[in-house]
């Protein structure tokens, strides 16, 4: 099947190095300490952060750091066919672990000992790149909650189909069986915290694809910074500063 037409257009009309449209909103859930909605094309994700709060399970309390917990779940109607088991299955557990470890790398946990930070992510619509959307939403929610972090974490995916490197795969391109590289970076220092890939790829092509994904991450970081600045301005107006 042709994923890139001879004119260089993908199935949804994008160019190979073009990302889907991103939209983010802070403070969607009023009951949470911090929350955000993040959309990448048709993939919609809500993240809510509760914390730092008292550790619920005393035996898990860490005396010199905060405990970070994460849960990823998908709504029943998020995919094409109705899902029977939206959480507790292997994929959800794996993604929960990935998101937790990625965010733990940048949260300054030593500033909040004996406490717990809960990150909950709910996928409302899934169209490829849910992992990346979840990490971006979690970053915004943590910033909204005022939890100290050393840097933002942004994530984007890239693939390689019909001998072209493609940025930000949607569901159809992802399920084509080609390689899928997901990268998560700390944009200021350009350090990589998350790197996942499946299927086979020669080394030099892999470097191109990974570089493309990193460019995508930086674009997401620019957008996230704008959103956070705008949010801070609104807070200033409300306080009458």
């Amino acid at each position: 099947m042709e994923f890139v037409s001879p004119e260089g257009l993908r199935l949804d009309g994008r160019r190979p190095m073009e990302m889907r449209q991103i939209r983010a909103e802070i403070g969607a859930v009023s009951r949470a300490d911090g929350s955000a909605v993040f959309e990448m094309g048709n993939t919609k994700v809500i993240a809510a952060v509760y914390g730092p709060r008292e550790v619920q399970n005393r035996s898990q309390q860490i005396n010199d750091q905060a405990l970070v917990r994460c849960e990823y779940s998908m709504a029943n109607f998020s995919t094409g066919d109705r899902m029977r088991k939206p959480k507790g299955d292997r994929r959800s557990t794996e993604i929960s672990l990935v998101i937790r470890q990625t965010m733990e790398a940048c949260i300054l946990t030593h500033l909040m000992p004996r406490s717990q930070i809960d990150i909950f992510v709910q996928v409302l619509q899934a169209d490829g790149g849910t992992r990346s959307a979840c990490i971006n939403a979690a970053t915004l929610a943590l910033a909204d909650a005022g939890i100290p972090m050393c840097d933002l974490v942004t994530s984007c995916s890239a693939g390689y189909l019909n001998s072209t490197a493609l940025l930000d795969l949607n569901y159809v391109e992802d399920s084509a069986g080609g390689p899928d590289v997901t990268v998560g970076i700390l944009p200021k220092s350009e350090k990589v915290t998350l790197l996942q890939m499946d299927a086979k790829l020669p080394m030099d092509t892999f470097e191109n694809v990974m570089q493309l994904a990193i460019e995508g991450c930086k674009a997401v970081a620019t957008y996230i910074r704008e959103v956070l600045l705008e949010n801070t301005k609104q807070l200033e107006y409300r306080r009458g500063v």
Binding site: A28, S35, I46, Q56
Partner: protein
Amino acid sequence: MSSTNTSSDLSSEMEVDAFRRLFPLRFHERHLLESIRPDARPLGKARDTSLALGAVASAHGSALAKIGCTTMLAAIKMEVMTPTTESPDEGCIVIDFHMPPICSPIVRPGRPAEAAPVVSKQLSDTILSSGMIDLKELSLVSGKAAWMAYLDIYCLDADGALFDAALLSAVAAFSHLEIPVVSLNEDGRVVVVSEEDAGKLEKEAVNKEKRKLKLSTVSFSLTCILHKNYILADPTAEEESIMETLMTVVLDSSFQLVSLYKPGGPVLACTSAIQDCVALTRQRVKELQKILNEAISDMEVD
């Protein structure tokens, strides 16, 4: 006596936020004396309500309802199934209410909210018993194929009056629902026709075009809190946690009583209190009908 004196001395010096946290009942009662609530609403008024139809593009019918900060997302997916032998001409509706951990600080993974299965059962009973949907409309081929409608409601923000918001979103999702086109394939089974195949239909279509579900009557509800002699309409989560006696009244569009639900609680309701609640609900039903009709006409313009 002396303890109340000391606490009233303390309260006169304290900041408002601290007083609200430490003596929540007294904080709210001070407001009720002036017939107002902390968010400046009069006692019988509900919060701002908004509806958006078609929030989930991949579902056959969906709606997002917001009452104040309480947010509910409802989506309906239809699948073809074989009807039971006792009722070969009827389809089936399955209603499920979820409270994911994002919605409230009291829900934790591994320990689901107590309210979730309660609201789920209440919704199921109310929608199926109100006769809003005629199950015979969901039949395709008598005895062989019928529609199974899965209604999933997700609470995205739990700030009180969960049942009201959930019922509103369910009713709106059913108003938005469009039954997809189906056809018989070679094995004689009924399959859903996808968008691309609809143009080139070689096999005979069982129903030629997408149609909307006919709703005979639409039900709306209002939850009230009873506290001493006061009746507070549309409580927030804070009010629900302090004053525990709730009463939910469900009326349909012709103002007939569909359901009355008062699950115990320390305050006993006399007949006049119940009648007052029903009167408040009647007001609310008029407001909600207007909001639903506006949302539907906005969709049709698009």
